[in-house]
């Protein structure tokens, strides 16, 4: 993997990104929800995405049924976006020692949104804890920044 692609992949772990989660049920009906944080300690071989318990019932049900999951990470300031697709390997209630990570991610996201005109208090009013931690095996990574390259496979 060249250095540019590696940097592009690491983009999706940058603090302050908007996290979207897509799943599908057994009948092929898709569902979406917003995530709060992502983490990976193995160079994106696996990724853990944190979704609020309050808003992710359908997502959790779907990954339990089909294990299929897509996670998009996008910077609201410049729309630079990446999408990771793969298979769920674990879905659990996030531990207390992960709460700080989730809170930091929300604060960083609020900072980015504040720079584009969305007040921090609005962003921080979003439910973020307790959260589910969904771990996926990353099988494909795609460029998703709007433009002609959107959809190109990065890995």
């Amino acid at each position: 993997m060249d250095r540019m692609t590696d940097a592009r992949l690491q983009h999706c772990l940058t603090p302050g990104l908007s996290i979207l989660v897509g799943t599908v049920d057994a009948q092929g009906t898709p569902a979406c929800c917003r995530g709060i944080a992502v983490a990976s300690d193995d160079n994106l071989q696996t990724l853990t995405v944190y979704v609020p318990v309050a808003t992710s019932h359908e997502t959790i049900r779907n990954v339990a049924l089909t294990r299929r999951i897509a996670v998009a990470a996008s910077n609201p300031a410049d729309n630079c976006s990446t999408q990771l697709k793969g298979t769920t390997t674990d879905a659990r209630l996030a531990r207390e020692d992960e709460a700080a990570r989730v809170r930091r991610a929300l604060d960083a996201f609020a900072d980015v949104l504040d720079r584009v005109g969305v007040a921090r208090r609005l962003t921080r009013s979003v439910s973020h804890w307790p959260a589910f931690a969904i771990t996926m095996r990353v099988e494909e990574v795609f460029e998703q920044t709007p433009g002609p390259q959107a959809g190109c496979r990065l890995r």
Partner: protein, 475 residues
């Protein structure tokens, strides 16, 4: 609990990007942001498709989709369960959605590259609030227009209508309308641009709230937000200007590698930090008269309601402008007849050009003021005052004509008629917008050179006044 889509209309203004999830025939999900979710009616929405991407391929295989939209005021999210019906590539819905994208594309120098391919129409099977999305209940903000508000706006409409009817000249008509828009409707940043058919350009003739630099600003038909409104003769309401521009710039950045000839981005006229724009064409039938625009720093400033009543006002302004122009031309005809009957000396239709053999000439003014140097650049048809740009094209040629005439003969009184008879000025034979060009010239002089004034002295007549000696240079 399914909510009527009309109750959550703010979610479809594009202020906060929406998201969509689809899945292919093998059940592999895809999730992405959407640039535009358009509310079609209470059972349908349309999504903009700018690129042939994974979402569109999935929809061809599996029509089921899910979207999440968010109210930019309360921050409450709603989930829509969707079924893809069809792609529209022409017709009113497509045109409406395409115009917004065309305007952003033009504004970011992406015309022809960033464009609407299709409006994908979906049936909305369910629309539900995302329970628990906010840690605290959303703020109670009633979006309904109160009766008091409507009454104020009706009074405003009545007032504007009266001012248009009573206006004695184009300048007072436009300034009083913009004043009324601020006083009655709270539009504190507005402008009117008039259309020059011969040059296919629009020129700012009146503005309010932008500071002095707005007058004289030009845009070509088809260029940028205002130029697109003029070309399409359709209303453009962008409640999410900054978000739309960010999206357009992202596409531009991603496209730059493959297209070396991207045009320079057009500077946004008006507020540098505008978050919302409402631009309405001024038309009479199919004929374009100009464009009226309003801008605001609040992304949700302009609603459909604002669009509706500003459209009513725009129609009245267009009729008022047309009436002024017709009256100006009719009055000139009357003056012409009177002059013929009284055998008054008529100015020559082809006066000699300003002193070319002696390019430095002076028009006398009050000796106590320092002299001002006016330079006419023939190639650019532009006049600079003390090296600062003043005006170009027809108004520049008009000013240069009267300055030259004044310098040669000492005349200070001029008529619109003699300008119309001077073919060298390049005025169109019909609908020459002479009055608006003189207003533009007058305002630019007020702004850049108060020592030199164009003063109306009666219908179809004006005088040149100078409070300082003028040095005329032609290059």
């Amino acid at each position: 609990m399914t909510v009527p889509l009309s109750d959550i209309w703010r979610c479809f203004q594009g202020v906060i990007p929406s998201i969509i999830a689809t899945a292919d025939r093998n059940g592999v999900p895809n999730v992405t942001y959407l640039s535009q979710v358009h509310l079609v009616d209470d059972r349908h929405v349309a999504l903009s498709r700018q690129f042939f991407n994974k979402t569109s391929r999935n929809l061809d295989e599996n029509p089921a989709a899910a979207a999440e939209v968010m109210d930019p005021v309360t921050f409450q999210a709603y989930r829509l369960r969707l079924r893809f019906l069809r792609s529209e590539r022409s017709g009113p819905l497509f045109q409406t959605m395409a115009m917004r994208i065309d305007a952003i594309a033009s504004h970011t120098g992406m015309t022809g590259i960033f464009r609407l391919i299709a409006a994908d129409v979906f049936e909305v099977l369910a629309a539900e609030p995302v329970e628990g999305f906010l840690a605290e209940p959303p703020a109670d903000v009633s979006a309904a227009v109160s009766l008091d508000g409507a009454r104020t706006e009706l009074r405003g409409l009545s007032w504007v209508s009266q001012r248009i009817n009573r206006a004695t000249d184009l300048d007072s008509l436009l300034s009083s309308v913009l004043q009324a828009l601020e006083e009655y409707f709270g539009f504190s940043h507005s402008a009117v641009l008039l259309y020059d058919e011969a040059r296919q350009r629009l020129t700012t003739i009146a503005s309010r709230g932008f500071g002095p630099t707005g007058i004289g600003a030009e845009v070509a038909v088809g260029d940028g937000l205002i130029g697109t409104v003029a070309r399409e003769r359709r209303v453009l309401r962008l409640p999410s200007l900054e978000a739309d521009l960010r999206y357009g710039r992202a596409v531009r950045r991603e496209s730059a590698g493959g297209h070396g000839l991207l045009q320079a981005e057009i500077p946004l006229p008006g507020l540098p930090d505008a978050q919302s724009v409402l631009a309405i064409p001024l038309t009479i039938g199919a004929q374009l008269v100009g464009v009226i625009t309003a801008e605001d720093r609040d992304p949700m400033r302009f609603s459909e309601w604002d669009e509706t009543y500003l459209t009513v006002i725009a129609n009245q302004i267009a009729l008022g402008i047309d009436r002024m122009i017709a009256r100006d031309e009719a009055a000139e005809g009357a003056v012409s007849e009177a002059e013929s009957e009284s055998a008054a000396p008529e100015p020559g239709p082809e006066p000699p050009p300003p002193a070319r053999s002696d390019p430095r000439a002076r028009v006398e003014g009050r000796a106590s003021r320092p002299p001002r140097r006016l330079t006419f650049y023939k190639g650019d048809e532009a006049i600079f005052i003390d090296d600062e740009y003043l005006i170009r094209n027809v108004p520049a040629k008009i000013l240069w004509k009267v300055l030259g005439e004044s310098q040669r003969t000492g005349r200070t009184e001029f008529s619109n008629r003699e300008l119309r008879l001077d073919a060298s000025l390049g005025l169109p034979a019909v609908k020459d917008n002479l009055e608006s060009r003189l207003i533009l010239l007058r305002h630019r002089l007020e702004e850049k050179c108060p020592d030199l004034q164009i003063v109306p002295t009666g219908r179809g007549r004006f005088a040149l006044r100078s409070d300082a000696p003028l040095e005329l240079v032609e290059r």
